[in-house]
């Protein structure tokens, strides 16, 4: 089914690389990259990042009130460890994340494997407060620390043939019980974006949250955050980023294609086959407060709706 979907994407909807350069202007207009002066030092002992002088994104709705950090740290879907959202906190601590390197390959001029420190030394870290909406019907507001994925991709110089980006989570069966038993999925976990989605200024790689290093259960040391898509797109513990001519099959899409699409854009009017996506429970909201009405593109329509012009969002769900 997904293969059919992908053939249906008219080439007119795929942004040519020249347009990325245009986007730079857009990014600057948004003020996301105007912070080079206060480059935070990321070299620190014990795998702790130093987030002093963190730049706050000026473009985003910073009036969003972050969800209490303890709730965010103790409610994570990490199927490599467990299917239980409150058990991953403990189980993920056995993960080995130091040293960490990321391979960037495929349709790029300069394929390479980078140490995480080398990536970070080139990036200006900033704080971005994003809404995060899980396909299960709950949501939270997280102040992520990281940088635009586009900045990293540009380091590798994408070729014009690069139309899709594939992300791969680490394979570490020694520490990840469900990888050992191949429970539920064929691991490693795979996610993907169209190149224009990947280059969009809102799409970020996070290395921290709440002004601290990313906890392991939340995807340390490096995770994707795509705020207008359901949470499962925001892949954790990334070790490989491939730029491809064609989309790769993603983990959830492969496991249940009729339930989880490649796009997985947050959309209240496209229900999951078994449950509504019309509303969400915002973590931290009290008893007797109603669920929140879910917004199209999770409230980021103004910035991203143009990516999906003329696309039938029911078909490309």
């Amino acid at each position: 089914m997904i293969i059919k979907n992908q053939k249906d994407i008219p080439s007119s909807e795929i942004t040519p690389p020249e347009v990325f350069q245009e986007r730079r202007k857009f990014i600057q207009m948004l003020g996301l990259t105007l912070a080079g002066a206060n480059m935070p030092s990321v070299f620190a002992s014990e795998n702790k990042l130093n987030f002093a002088n963190l730049v706050k994104s000026t473009t985003l709705d910073n009036s969003l009130k972050p969800t209490p950090v303890e709730l965010v740290k103790n409610y994570t879907n990490y199927y490599e460890f467990t299917f239980n959202k409150d058990d991953s906190t403990k189980l993920a601590q056995s993960m080995v994340i130091d040293p960490w390197s990321v391979e960037i390959s495929g349709e790029v001029e300069k394929p390479a494997t980078y140490h995480l420190e080398d990536i970070l030394s080139q990036q200006t870290l900033e704080e971005r407060i994003y809404r995060f909406r899980c396909v299960e019907g709950w949501s939270m507001v997280v102040p992520w620390v990281g940088f635009s994925l586009a900045n990293l991709l540009k380091m590798a110089k994408p070729l014009s043939t690069a139309q899709f980006v594939k992300f791969t989570t680490i394979q570490q069966p020694e520490t990840m019980p469900n990888q050992r038993d191949s429970k539920m999925f064929e691991f490693p976990y795979i996610e993907g974006l169209r190149i224009d989605e990947a280059m969009h200024p809102l799409t970020m790689l996070a290395v921290g949250m709440y002004g601290e290093t990313l906890p392991k259960q939340n995807g340390a040391p490096l995770r994707l955050v795509v705020p207008w898509k359901y949470g499962f797109k925001s892949i954790k513990a990334i070790v490989k980023i491939e730029l491809l001519k064609k989309p790769s099959l993603t983990t959830w899409n492969k496991s249940a294609p009729q339930e989880y699409g490649f796009y997985a854009n947050v959309n209240p009017s496209v229900p999951h086959p078994r449950w509504s996506q019309n509303s969400e429970r915002l973590l931290g909201s009290g008893f007797f407060t109603s669920r929140r009405q879910t917004e199209l593109f999770n409230g980021y329509g103004e910035q991203v709706a143009s990516l999906y012009q003329d696309m039938d969002l029911r078909h490309f769900f």
């Binding site: 303890e70 229900p271 669920r291």
Partner: protein, 207 residues
């Protein structure tokens, strides 16, 4: 302990309220995790299903032991099923949605797994309000027919549980097995008595 056994009826009533008490403690002491409303809702759903299983166990016990003295307990566990499912529903409507009917309507219409929950609740509700001896007499033969719907309600509630999950299917699987055994026992008894009566009564016509 002696008191508990001597006053089995009274102590059963009290023990069946303990899950609610513990749940109350967990609410008060904020012990329900990052998504307490969902946790509360699921815990009440779990107890609804557990009481339904317990209620469905009484008839097989009576059949096996040939002792008919437990009918009142079956009624009691059935009423507790009604009690916990009602709380489960109330948490959904009030605690999770604060009676925002437009959100509730869309949620129910768009969520097939909830349709099964609604069906099961309607059945449990009807059985609950017709559980008294008075209603039993008044309804006559219809009562038995009506109360057989509990089998469908049991199947619907297990699917209701299965259908909303994304990952871990172990727990609903346990309930599915228990309900399969409980209903399977009845089907077995029904089938064997039918075979027996077939053998006893000479066939009037061939079919």
């Amino acid at each position: 302990m002696n008191w508990l056994i001597k006053n089995l009826w009274a102590s059963t009533i009290v023990v069946c309220l303990l899950p609610l008490l513990f749940l109350g403690f967990d609410v008060v002491f904020d012990n329900l995790g990052s998504n307490p409303i969902q946790a509360l809702h699921i815990r009440l759903g779990d107890w609804s299903l557990r009481f339904l299983c317990i209620a469905l166990t009484i008839t097989p016990i009576q059949t096996i032991t040939r002792w008919r003295g437990m009918t009142e307990y079956r009624q009691l566990f059935g009423l507790y099923t009604f009690f916990y499912t009602s709380l489960h529903l109330l948490v959904y409507l009030l605690v999770d949605h604060n009676f925002m009917w437009s959100l509730i309507a869309t949620d129910i219409i768009e969520s097939p797994y909830i349709w099964l929950g609604v069906f099961a609740y309607i059945v449990v509700f009807l059985l609950g309000v017709t559980s008294s001896k008075f209603a039993m007499k008044k309804l006559g033969k219809t009562w038995k027919k009506l109360h057989r719907w509990v089998y469908l309600a049991a199947i619907a509630s297990v699917i209701h549980y299965f259908w909303q999950l994304k990952g871990n299917l172990a727990e609903p699987l346990l309930y599915a097995i228990i309900i399969f055994l409980l209903l399977g026992f009845r089907a077995f008894i029904w089938f064997t008595t039918r075979q027996l009566s077939k053998m006893m009564i000479p066939k009037g016509r061939s079919d």
